[in-house]
Structures are given as C-alpha cells and as structure tokens.
Amino acid sequence: MDVYRITKEPIDVASALIDIADDRAGAQALFLGTVRNEFEGRSSRGLYYDAYEPLAEKELRRIGEELKQEFGALHVVLIHRIGDLPLGVVSVLVAVSTGHRGEAFAAAREGIDRIKLRVPIWKKEHWGNGQDAWHHDPEAFPAK
C-alpha cells in the first residue's frame, strides 16, 4: 500500500512499516528527517514547516510513482509533517520496500532528495537567539 500525505500529526513509523510490508520484499529502507539543534553551526530551538498542501501531496505521489518505475519499489510511503516541531521530532518519512537492498537504498535516497527539491514545503528556523528565518530567504541566508 502506498501513502502520500502532508500532516500536522506525529509521523507513525510503525504504521508505515505495515504499509510497505510485502512477502515479495527482501529489503525495506527508511529515511527519517529529524529536527536538529543546529544549522551550519548556529544553534536552533526547532523548526516551523509550511506547505501548499494539495500540490505537495500531488508531488509526493508523483515522486512515489517515479520510485516504483525507476527502482522497482513495491510500496512507497512519503509523509511530511508541518507546523511547529521541537528538536528531535521526525519531520519527514520515506519508506520503501523492494526485492533487494540496492534498490531499497537508491529509492529511499532519491525519495528524500526529490522531496527536498520539488515538494512545496518551506521551513523556518527558530534560532537559539530568539530570531526566526525562512530557509532560502536571501535576506536571512545571504549568498556566501
């Protein structure tokens, strides 16, 4: 079973494992993005994620279809959480099942890379000093 979802709720890894289970699969790869306490050396208190939900879910689905086509993924779960997330929390989950491990790693890696490139989701850093900044805002993150 495939799942493509933008959610405000905690991401349930156990249920993703049930969704990708398949007797034809010898391999499952999962990638979880978690909220880190720093970004490029500056301390952070957490992240806020916003999304354009209808288009984001469509784009997650397109990425999942690509992973099935290109890597033979049997099942794909792509979930991104939005809202205010404290340190340590899972913000994004990529889970795939495949026949063998090579394709599982390749599909999971491409899954997160394509999410970061293409899905209309944005994150705001809550810096340790109390300031906030949207990533990729040229005023907040000047070109180096």
């Binding site: 993005g33 994620y49 916003d50 999304a51 354009y52 209808p54 288009l55 984001a56 469509k58 991104h80 913000s91 994004v92 997160i112 999410i115 970061k116 490139l117 293409r118 899905v119 209309p120 989701i121 944005w122 994150k123 705001k124 949207w134 990533h135 990729h136 805002d137 040229p138 005023e139 907040a140």
Partner: protein, 84 residues
C-alpha cells in the same frame, strides 16, 4: 466586476508571504493576462526580481509562463522550497 477584467486568488508562502504581508491576495487583472504577465507586472515589484525564477501553480498544478489566467483561478507563488 468589469467585463474586461477578471479576479484571481493568489497564495503566498514562506518569505514571499512575509514580503506581501499576507498569505492571500485577490487581484483584478485584464482579460487575457498570462501567468508571466501577472508575475512581472503585479508581483515582481513586491517580491523582487528573483520571483521571475520561482515556480508557480494555477489551480493546484504547476503552470508555465504562457498559461492564460481565467476568472476565479487560484495562483500559488512557490519560492524555493526547503522541505525535509
């Protein structure tokens, strides 16, 4: 509404919403306006020249510069994404 104009709904996200002081704007545009026309004439003055390189969607699907806008369209302004 003037029959030679149309009304479109525009959504802003991330720092584009900050620049616009809001996540939603309603614009009245001349009939025949393309997405590219709208970005250059109505959005670029507020969002800056980088906005020409951003992505846009019309009615929840990616759209090109040449897309003809229609009355009631929902246009989303997609500055560089940063999910993950």
């Amino acid at each position: 509404m003037n029959p030679s104009t149309m009304t479109v709904h525009t959504l802003f996200f991330s720092f584009a919403a900050d620049r616009m002081n809001g996540r939603h704007k309603t614009l009245d545009l001349p009939q025949g306006t393309t997405l590219g026309d709208m970005v250059r004439q109505y959005l670029e003055p507020a969002l800056g020249p980088d906005s020409r390189n951003w992505l846009y969607s019309v009615n929840e699907e990616w759209a090109s510069w040449e897309t003809q806008l229609k009355n009631g369209d929902e246009i989303a302004v997609i500055p560089p994404v940063s999910g993950g």
